[in-house]
C-alpha cells in the first residue's frame, strides 16, 4: 500500500509545466535598522522555486506573471507580494513580535507555536544563558510549569531526576530526552552552551514518540548555523568556586559530652566524660571544601549559500565540595552541526557530539558514606593520630559503619571515564511543489565507560565493615550502543486558502545494545613484594586475577543486552483559517520487552485547538493579542521494565564452594532462575487529559498559559516485594514485574510572563509559574492490596518504609504516628506501650486502631515525598549596559525522612537534642536519650519525618555589556562580563542537607541517608563575540 502511494507520488513529481516568465530583482531590508538582510528566503508561492538574498540583501529571481512571492527571514514577519509587471521589488521586513510565528519542534516535524494543540513549554538559549547552569537540568527547574527536577546527589557530574507532571509509575519515571532527535539518557554529557532550545512536551500529544513518551518528552535542539552569514565566533567562559550550601547542625564537643553522659547514665551505664572537652574537629568542615570550577566554551557559526555550519568545543573542570578532587568531574565536548542543500529540495543535516568525561566517585547517600560519617563521627576525636601507621585517628566505639571520613577520603580511588559519540544524519527530500517531504534520519550513540576502582589495604579501626586486609583493584569497560532510524513522509497542503492539512506517516526502529567486560585483581605485587599504592593499582600487577564474568556467563551472553523497539505512526493535523485546529496521532509500538502475545500495542491520541483571537470579534484587538483554547486526550504505552521479564531465564546467581580455600577457582558456578517471570505482562497505559489556555495581552507584554491535566496510569508495571515463599530473595533473583495498579496525577499549571520595553535603555521581564499536583494511587491489584519498599536504617531497620496503596500518594511513608513524649509514669501506665522499658521522656506512639496495644497494625500514613505545589519565579532587567536576572524555585508540601543519624551512644547527634525531654525540661517533644533503649524511638515513626518545603534562590546574575563602538575597535562584536551565584540561599526548616534531594525511586524516594548537597557556586564570566 505504502509502496503504491510512493510510486504515485514519484510520477506526479516528474510532471512539469511551463508558462510566461519574467525576471525580478530587489533588496530586502530590515525596518529595525534599515540594514540589508542577508540570507532572506524568497519563494514563489505554490512552486518549488526561490532564492535567497546575498550579503547585501539583494536577490534576483525568475517568476511568472501572477505569481506571488513570499519573503521570509527568521525573526521577521513574512511578506507576500503579487507579481504583476514590476521588475524591481524592494521589501522592508519588520521584526516579528517573535512569539506568534515561532516554530516549535514537536516530533517528526515542527509547527507554528500558534497552531500547537498540545501542552508544550519552550526554553530558549537566552533563558539558558541567564541561568548559566553547569548542567542542562538546572535550566528546567523553575522555568517551566509541570517540571520538577530533583538531585540524588549534588556531586559534580551526578544525574538528576526529571519528573514531568508527577510520578506516574512505580518503574522508570524519566522522560524521553532527545537531542537533535537522538535519545540521550544522561544529560550530563551535554554542554548547556550547545543548546539552542529545549522543548518540553507534557501531554498526550507527546504520544507521537510512542512508548518512551509516557513520562513526557524533552526535545533539545543544538545550535546550528545560518545560511549566508559570516563566520562568527563566540567565547563564553567562567571561573568560580563552590561551597557547601548547607551543613547539618550537630553538637559541639562540650554539648556532645554532656549528652553522651546523660544517654549512658539513663541506660544505667557510667558517664564517658569526666571532663567536658571544649575542642574537637568540625567533621563536616573537614570533608567540605571550597572547590574551584572553570568552564570555557567556544563556538563558531556561519553559512554559505548552500550550507550552514556550527562548531562548538568546551571544557569544564569542577571539583566537588566534598573531598575536592576526590569528587572531581571534568568534561570536554566537541560539537558539529552541519546542514547542506545538496539540491534545492534535497537537504542534508548532520550533527555530531563527542564527549569525554572523567568523574571521581565517592561513597555517598548511604550508611557509611563520607557525609554520613562526617555527621555521625565523634566530635571530640581528633582527625589524626601520629602513633598510627597511616596517621589517621581510628573511629573507636562507633560501630561497624562509622569511620573517620578524612581517612575514608584519603583511601578512596574510584574513577569513571566516559567516551561518547552521538551522531545524527538526516536527509529531507521535498517534491511536488514541496507538498511532500520524505525524511530519513539516522541517530546513533556509542559510548565506552571505563571504571577503575582501587581498594587499598586499610584499617579504620576494629570491627569496621570497611577494613580491607587484601587490596583489590577493579577494571571494567562497558560498551553501550544504540541507534534509531526514523523514516517518514509528510504531506502538507492548503486547500482553498483556508484548509491546511498535514499528514505524517512514518516508522521508527530503535535498538540499544551493549557489552560489559572487566577484570578484578587482589593483592598487588611489585617484584614479588606486596604494594599498596594507587601507582601500581592495575589488575596486571595483581597476584590473583578474576574475570568479572565467568566463561559460562560469557557463553550465555550474561554480559550483553539487546533491546529493540519497532514503531509505525501517523499524524493528521488540520486547521481551518488557523482558527480551528485539530490533530490526531496513532502509533503502533512493538517492544522486545513483552512476550509474543503482548508484543504490540496501539496508542491513539487527539487534540483540538481554537484560536479565539482569530475570530472577528477579537482580531486586531489591542488588549487581547492571542487567546487559544486547547484540549487533548490520548493513551500512551510504556515498556519501562527489565528485559525478558515475561520469561523465566536462568540468569540468577548460583555459586557454591568446593572448599579448596585456594583462590577464586574454588567457587562452583551453576545456574539459577533470575527474576520471577510473568508471561502475562503487557503494556502500561497512560491516559492523559489536558485542557489549556494560551493568551497574550497588551501588545504581547503579558503572556499567560494555563493547563489542567488528569493523567491516569493503568496496568502499572510494578516490580516490588512479593511473598517470600516464591523464592524471589534468592541471590540474583527478583520479584516478578506485574501489571498491578492505577495511579492518578492531576493538577493545574499556570505560567505568566511579563515583558516590557520602557525605553531603548530600560527593559524588564518577569515570569512566574506554579504547578499543583495531586498524586493518588487509585488501585493496586493483588490480594495484599499494596506494594512496599524503601529502606530506613535508624533503630529497627525496616525495608518497607514506603508504600503504594489505594487512596494514598505513591510511595507514602508508612509508620507509627507519635503524640509527643510521655511526661510521667502515670501516663505510661495508662497508655498502650510497645515495651516495658518505657520511661518518661520516651516517644508516645499512637494506638491508631484503638486495640489497646502498640503493634505493627498501628502503622499508618505519616507523610509523602510528593510536593503539593511547586513554583518558579524569574526576574530580569536591562538598563543601558547593565543586565540583571534572578530566579527562584519553591517546593511546598513534600516530606522527607531523616535517615542519616545513627543511634549509637558515641555518635554525634543533631543539635535539636539540646531540647530533649529531661525531668527538668518537661515541655519538649524531643525524646530523652538513653542507651537502655527508647524502644518507641527505634520504630519508624513520624519522629523522623520532616516537612521538606523549601524556597531556593537558584541563580542571581549581573552583567555588563561594553559599548559596541568601544569593543569594535579591538575587533569584537560584543563583550559582556558578569558575576553570577547559583543556589545562593535555600529557605527551609528541613534539618538535612538538601530539601530538594530525592533518590528518584517511586517508592522510597525522600528517605535521606545524607544526600550530597547542591553547591553554592560563585562565578565570574565573560561572553565574547567576534
Amino acid at each position: 500500500m505504502k509502496i503504491k502511494l510512493l510510486y504515485f507520488l514519484f510520477f506526479c513529481a516528474t510532471a512539469t509545466v511551463t508558462a510566461q516568465q519574467m525576471q525580478i530583482s530587489g533588496t530586502i531590508i530590515s525596518s529595525e535598522d534599515d540594514f540589508p538582510i542577508a540570507g532572506a528566503n524568497i519563494l514563489i508561492q505554490g512552486k518549488n522555486a526561490g532564492t535567497t538574498t546575498d550579503f547585501d540583501g539583494n536577490y534576483e529571481l525568475t517568476v511568472e506573471k501572477g505569481d506571488s512571492i513570499i519573503i521570509t527571514y527568521i525573526g521577521f514577519k513574512s511578506s507576500t507580494i503579487l507579481i504583476e509587471s514590476q521588475s524591481t521589488i524592494n521589501v522592508t521586513l519588520s521584526p516579528d513580535n517573535q512569539l506568534l510565528d515561532e516554530i516549535v519542534v514537536i516530533g517528526y516535524g515542527s509547527q507554528k507555536k500558534k497552531e500547537i494543540t498540545g501542552a508544550v513549554s519552550v526554553i530558549d538559549s537566552k533563558a539558558i544563558e541567564k541561568l548559566n547552569p553547569v548542567r542542562v537540568e538546572q535550566a528546567l527547574q523553575g522555568q517551566v510549569s509541570g517540571v520538577n527536577v530533583t538531585t540524588s546527589s549534588g556531586s559534580p557530574g551526578a544525574a538528576s531526576n526529571i519528573r514531568i507532571r508527577g510520578v506516574s509509575t512505580n518503574g522508570d519515571n524519566n522522560p524521553l530526552i532527545l537531542v537533535d532527535g537522538n535519545r540521550i539518557t544522561d544529560l550530563s554529557v551535554i554542554n548547556p552552551n550547545d543548546i539552542a532550545s529545549v522543548n518540553v512536551l507534557k501531554d498526550a500529544t507527546a504520544g507521537i514518540y510512542g512508548v518512551q513518551a509516557a513520562n513526557g518528552v524533552i526535545l533539545i535542539t543544538t545550535k546550528s548555523g545560518r545560511k549566508n552569514t559570516e563566520l562568527k565566533f563566540n567565547i563564553d567562559s567562567y571561573i568560580g568556586f563552590q561551597e557547601a550550601s548547607n551543613s547539618i547542625d550537630v553538637l559541639k564537643p562540650r554539648d556532645y559530652a554532656i549528652l553522651v553522659n546523660e544517654m549512658s547514665m539513663n541506660g544505667g551505664g557510667d558517664p564517658k566524660y569526666i571532663v567536658y572537652p571544649e575542642d574537637g574537629p568540625d567533621w563536616q568542615q573537614q570533608v567540605f571544601t571550597s572547590a574551584p570550577i572553570a568552564n570555557v566554551n567556544f563556538d563558531a557559526n556561519g553559512g554559505t549559500e548552500k550550507a550552514a555550519y556550527s562548531f562548538g568545543a568546551s571544557y569544564l573542570d569542577q571539583d566537588g565540595i566534598v573531598g575536592g578532587d576526590k569528587s572531581n568531574y571534568n568534561r570536554a565536548t566537541a560539537r558539529l552541526n552541519f546542514q547542506y542543500d545538496i539540491l534545492k529540495n534535497l537537504k542534508l543535516s548532520t550533527t555530531a557530539i563527542y564527549t569525554h568525561s572523567n568523574k571521581n566517585n565517592l561513597s555517598e547517600g548511604a550508611a557509611g558514606s563520607v557525609l554520613f560519617n562526617a555527621i555521625n563521627m565523634n566530635p571530640v576525636m581528633p582527625v589524626y593520630d601520629a602513633t598510627e601507621e597511616d596517621g589517621f585517628q581510628k573511629a573507636y566505639n562507633l560501630g561497624g559503619e562509622i569511620i573517620n571520613p578524612v581517612a575514608q577520603l584519603a583511601n578512596t580511588y574510584d574513577k569513571t571515564r566516559v567516551n561518547k559519540i552521538s551522531a545524527t544524519l538526516g536527509l529531507d527530500y521535498s517534491f511536488l511543489n514541496d507538498h511532500f517531504k520524505v525524511s530519513s534520519k539516522f541517530q546513533m550513540n556509542h559510548s565506552v565507560v571505563d571504571g577503575h576502582v582501587f581498594k587499598p589495604e586499610v584499617y579504620y579501626g576494629p570491627s569496621k565493615s570497611f577494613n580491607i586486609t587484601t587490596n583489590e583493584v577493579y577494571e571494567n569497560k562497558d560498551y553501550y550502543d544504540d541507534y534509531t532510524w526514523d523514516n517518514f513522509i509528510t504531506y502538507s497542503n492548503t486547500f482553498n486558502e483556508d484548509h491546511s492539512l498535514t499528514v505524517l506517516l512514518g516508522m521508527s526502529a530503535f535498538k540499544t545494545y551493549g557489552t560489559f567486560t572487566g577484570m578484578s585483581g587482589t593483592n598487588l605485587l611489585l617484584d614479588g613484594q606486596q604494594v599498596n599504592s594507587i601507582e601500581y593499582a592495575s589488575v596486571a600487577n595483581a597476584e590473583t586475577q578474576i574475570n568479572r564474568f565467568t566463561d559460562e556467563q560469557l557463553a550465555r551472553g550474561s554480559n550483553t543486552f539487546d533491546t529493540r523497539l519497532l514503531s509505525y505512526f501517523t499524524r493528521i493535523q488540520y486547521n481551518y483559517k488557523g482558527k480551528y485546529l485539530l490533530s490526531g496521532v496513532l502509533r503502533r509500538d512493538g517492544s522486545t520487552r513483552f512476550g509474543p502475545e503482548n508484543r504490540f500495542g496501539y496508542f491513539p491520541s487527539g487534540s483540538l485547538g481554537w484560536n479565539i483571537s482569530e475570530e472577528d470579534f477579537l482580531v486586531d484587538n489591542d488588549l487581547v493579542n492571542l487567546l487559544k483554547l486547547r484540549v487533548s486526550y490520548g493513551i500512551i504505552g510504556s515498556d519501562k521494565i527489565g528485559d525478558y521479564r515475561y520469561l523465566s531465564t536462568l540468569s540468577g546467581e548460583a555459586t557454591y564452594v568446593r572448599n579448596d580455600e585456594a583462590d577464586a577457582s574454588e567457587l562452583l558456578q551453576g545456574l539459577a532462575e533470575g527474576a520471577l517471570s510473568n508471561p502475562e505482562i503487557q503494556w502500561e497505559k497512560q491516559k492523559t487529559f489536558n485542557i489549556g489556555i494560551d493568551t497574550r495581552l497588551l501588545g504581547d507584554r503579558i503572556s499567560m498559559t494555563m493547563d489542567a491535566f488528569d493523567k491516569r496510569t493503568e496496568d502499572l508495571l510494578i516490580t516490588s516485594q512479593v511473598s517470600g515463599i516464591l523464592g524471589s530473595s534468592a541471590p540474583g533473583s527478583a520479584p516478578p514485574t506485574i501489571n498491578a495498579g492505577t495511579v492518578q496525577n492531576k493538577g493545574f499549571e499556570f505560567q505568566i510572563a511579563y515583558n516590557s520595553k520602557f525605553s531603548e535603555d530600560f527593559k524588564i521581564n518577569a515570569s512566574y509559574n506554579f504547578t499543583t499536583l495531586h498524586n493518588e494511587v487509585l488501585f493496586v491489584s493483588g490480594e495484599n492490596g499494596f506494594e512496599a519498599g524503601g529502606g530506613f536504617g535508624v533503630g529497627i531497620g525496616v525495608d518497607d518504609a514506603g508504600r503504594m496503596e489505594a487512596g494514598y500518594p505513591i510511595g507514602y511513608f508508612y509508620g507509627y504516628k507519635s503524640d509527643g513524649v510521655f511526661t510521667s509514669q502515670e501516663e505510661i501506665d495508662d497508655s498502650p506501650v510497645s515495651s516495658t522499658a518505657t520511661a518518661p521522656g520516651d516517644l508516645k506512639l499512637v494506638d491508631v486502631n484503638n486495640d489497646g496495644e502498640i503493634t505493627a497494625d498501628d502503622r499508618t500514613y505519616i507523610g509523602d515525598p510528593i510536593a503539593d505545589v511547586t513554583m518558579g519565579l524569574n526576574l530580569g532587567f536591562n538598563y543601558k549596559n547593565i543586565d540583571f536576572s534572578a530566579s527562584a524555585f519553591a517546593s511546598l508540601g513534600a516530606e522527607m525522612v531523616r535517615d542519616y543519624e545513627r543511634q549509637i551512644l558515641e555518635a554525634n547527634k543533631g543539635t535539636y537534642n539540646l531540647d530533649r525531654w529531661t525531668p527538668t525540661n518537661t515541655n519538649s517533644n524531643v525524646p530523652r536519650l538513653s542507651t537502655g533503649g527508647t524502644p518507641q524511638s527505634s520504630y519508624f515513626s513520624d519522629l523522623y519525618v520532616e516537612d521538606a518545603s523549601y524556597l531556593r534562590i537558584q541563580n542571581v546574575q549581573a552583567g555588563y555589556t561594553f559599548q559596541e563602538n568601544a569593543v569594535s575597535k579591538i575587533g569584537l562584536d560584543r563583550l559582556r562580563l558578569y558575576v553570577s551565584v547559583n543556589n545562593l540561599y535555600t529557605f527551609t526548616n528541613y534539618k538535612g542537607y538538601d530539601a530538594g534531594a530525592s533518590s528518584g525511586a517511586p517508592i522510597g524516594a525522600g528517605i535521606d541517608k545524607g544526600f550530597y548537597p547542591v553547591a553554592r557556586t560563585y562565578m565570574l564570566g565573560l561572553n565574547l563575540k567576534f
Binding site: G400, S558, G727, S728, P731, A788
Partner: protein, 497 residues
C-alpha cells in the same frame, strides 16, 4: 531531473527495505536459557544443583539467632545502644511479627526450597548415570530447607500432593491460594518422605567434599524423626533405627582432638557428616547478605573492636552467658574450644552488651583470612551442620526414648562422646535422658541446636528466661509475609503472636 529520480528511488528503496524488515526486528531471543526449556544434559542438572546448594550459605541467621534464642548465649552487640534490635528481641523472648532476621530466614529458606523444587520439577527430563545421586542431593536439600522452616515456623505453606511436597516451583499467584500444612507433625512427615527417598538414591561417598552423602541423609532423617517424636512417640523408634544404621555402617569416626574440629583443618574432616561450605575468596556487602560466599554469622560473633592474637574483630553478638560457661566440669576439653574469654588475651576490645566478656569460640573470625570487603561478612568458617558426635547423642537419646529402650546402646554412644571430651574413660556418666540432653548442650554449644532441643523436649519454659509456653515454641510468621500472600486469615499467625 535525472538526479531527482535517483534520489527518489533511493528514498523508496530505503523505505521499502526498512518496512520489509517488519516485525522480526523485535524478535530477539534471550541468550540466557529459558528455565522452562532446559535440562538437556547431565551438566545442566549439575549447574542447577549448585544453585540449590547456594542457599545453604544463607542459613547463618538460623544458627546464630537460634543460639541466641536459647539459654546459651546473649544477643550482645554494641553495649551502648540496642544493636540489632530484632536480635535483642529474640534473646529476650519479646519478639513480634516485625523482625528482620525472622523475615530473612523465612524468605531465604523458601528460596532454597524453590530452587530444589525447580530441579525436581524436571527430574524426569533425561536419563544419565549419576542422575539418581543428583536427585538424591536435591531431595536432601529440599528436606534441609523445609526442616529449617519447620523448626522456626511450624506448619508451613507447601504445595502437597499424595503425601509428598510437589515437585514444582511455586508460581506467581499461587501464594494467594496456597494453604499451610495442618500440623508440625504433617510437615515432618513430608520431610521424612523426601529423606527416605534421598537415602535410597544417594552415593555413600562423594568425589567432592561439599556434596551430600547417603550418611548425611540418614543422619538428617534421624534428626527429623527425633523432632517428630515430640508429637508421635513411635517416631523415636524410627529415629533409633536410622541413627543406629549410620553408626553401624562405620563410615564416620569422632575427631580425636575436639579443639581441632572448628579450626580450618577440621573442615570436612573426621566426624564431619555434613557441612555448609563457606569461603573468603569473594567480597560481600550488607545489601545482599544471602549472596555472601562467607559465613556472615562469624563476623557478627567476633569480639567488638578486638585487637590481639589469633582472632579478628567482629560485631560482638552471640555471647555465651556465664552460666553456660560454668556447666563444663573440670577436665572437659571442650570448654576452651567452645568459650573464648576475651579478657585473657585481648590487647584491647569493647565488651558487648550484657558484658559477659565471653565469646563463641567455635565460630569466631580467625586471623589470616583473605579479608576481602566487607571483611566481617566473608569469613570462611564452614558451618558444621551435622557432626558425628551429634548423631551419637541423638542415637543415644532415641534409644532411651523409643518404645523398647536400649540403655546399653545409649550408654555406649554417650561414652564415645564423653571419652573424646575428656581424653580419658574416667568421666563416663549414666545414659539418662537428662544426662544425654545436658551432654548435647556441652557438646553442641554455639552451634545453633540448643533452643530447638529445649523446645522439642519440653524444657524451654523452665530454662529460657522470658519464654512463654504455648507461644514461643514457634516464631511468628513475619506480618509482611502474611500480608504479601494475602494470608493473614488463610494461614493465620502462630499461637500467641
Amino acid at each position: 531531473m535525472k538526479n531527482y529520480k535517483i534520489y527518489i528511488t533511493g528514498f523508496i528503496i530505503a523505505f521499502v527495505t526498512l518496512t520489509a524488515c517488519s516485525d522480526d526486528f523485535i524478535d530477539v531471543p534471550s541468550r540466557n536459557p529459558n528455565s522452562d526449556d532446559f535440562f538437556k544434559t547431565e551438566q545442566d542438572y549439575q549447574d542447577v544443583l549448585i544453585g540449590v546448594y547456594d542457599l545453604l550459605q544463607a542459613s547463618f541467621w538460623n544458627v546464630m539467632v537460634g543460639e541466641i534464642a536459647s539459654d546459651n548465649t546473649l544477643a550482645g552487640g554494641d553495649p551502648d545502644n540496642i544493636d540489632g534490635p530484632s536480635i535483642q528481641d529474640i534473646d529476650n523472648m519479646v519478639h513480634n511479627d516485625v523482625n528482620e532476621q525472622l523475615r530473612d530466614i523465612w524468605r531465604w529458606m523458601y528460596a532454597g526450597l524453590n530452587r530444589a523444587n525447580y530441579m525436581l520439577e524436571f527430574r524426569d527430563n533425561i536419563e544419565f548415570d549419576t542422575k539418581n545421586d543428583m536427585i538424591g542431593q536435591a531431595l536432601f536439600l529440599r528436606a534441609y530447607f523445609t526442616f529449617e522452616l519447620a523448626k522456626w515456623f511450624g506448619p508451613l505453606p507447601l504445595l502437597v500432593e499424595d503425601g509428598r511436597i510437589q515437585n514444582k516451583r511455586m508460581q506467581f499467584g499461587e501464594q494467594f491460594t496456597i494453604s499451610r500444612t495442618a500440623t508440625i507433625a504433617d510437615t515432618y512427615a513430608l520431610i521424612e518422605a523426601d529423606l527416605i527417598e534421598a537415602v535410597s538414591l544417594l552415593n555413600t561417598t562423594q568425589d567432592l567434599e561439599y556434596k551430600v552423602t547417603k550418611g548425611a541423609a540418614q543422619s538428617l532423617l534421624g534428626k527429623v524423626y527425633l523432632y517428630h517424636g515430640t508429637f508421635d512417640a513411635a517416631k523415636y523408634t524410627d529415629a533409633a533405627t536410622v541413627l543406629d544404621q549410620v553408626i553401624s555402617d562405620g563410615n564416620y569416626t569422632l575427631a580425636s582432638n575436639f579443639g581441632n574440629i572448628f579450626e580450618h583443618p577440621g573442615e570436612n574432616a573426621d566426624g564431619s557428616i555434613f557441612e555448609v561450605q563457606y569461603t573468603d575468596v569473594e567480597g560481600a556487602g550488607f545489601d545482599c547478605l544471602q549472596c555472601s560466599e562467607g559465613n556472615v554469622a562469624v563476623g557478627f560473633s567476633g569480639v567488638r573492636e578486638y585487637v590481639g592474637p589469633t582472632f579478628d574483630s567482629g560485631y560482638g553478638f552471640n555471647t555465651p552467658t556465664a552460666e553456660a560457661a560454668s556447666i563444663f566440669t573440670v577436665g572437659d576439653l571442650r570448654k576452651d574450644a567452645t568459650i573464648f574469654d576475651a579478657e585473657a588475651i585481648a590487647t584491647s576490645y569493647q565488651p558487648s552488651r550484657g558484658e559477659t566478656k565471653l565469646y563463641n569460640r567455635k565460630y569466631l573470625p580467625r586471623k589470616g583470612d583473605l579479608g576481602l570487603g566487607d571483611n566481617n561478612l566473608t569469613n570462611p568458617n564452614n558451618y558444621r551442620a551435622i557432626r558425628y558426635a551429634d548423631i551419637l547423642l541423638m542415637a543415644a537419646e532415641a534409644n532411651i526414648q523409643k518404645a523398647a529402650p536400649d540403655a546399653t546402646k545409649a550408654k555406649g554412644y554417650l561414652d564415645l562422646v564423653r571419652d573424646r571430651a575428656f581424653g580419658n574413660t574416667t568421666n563416663r556418666i549414666d545414659a539418662t535422658l537428662a544426662n544425654i540432653l545436658q551432654e548435647r548442650r556441652l557438646e553442641l554449644m554455639g552451634e545453633g541446636h540448643r533452643f530447638f532441643d529445649l523446645v522439642r523436649t519440653g524444657n524451654a519454659d523452665s530454662t529460657i528466661d522470658g519464654f512463654v509456653a504455648n507461644k514461643n515454641e514457634l516464631f511468628p510468621i513475619p506480618l509482611i509475609e502474611l500480608e504479601l500472600a494475602g494470608a493473614v486469615e488463610r494461614w493465620g499467625q502462630n499461637p500467641g503472636y
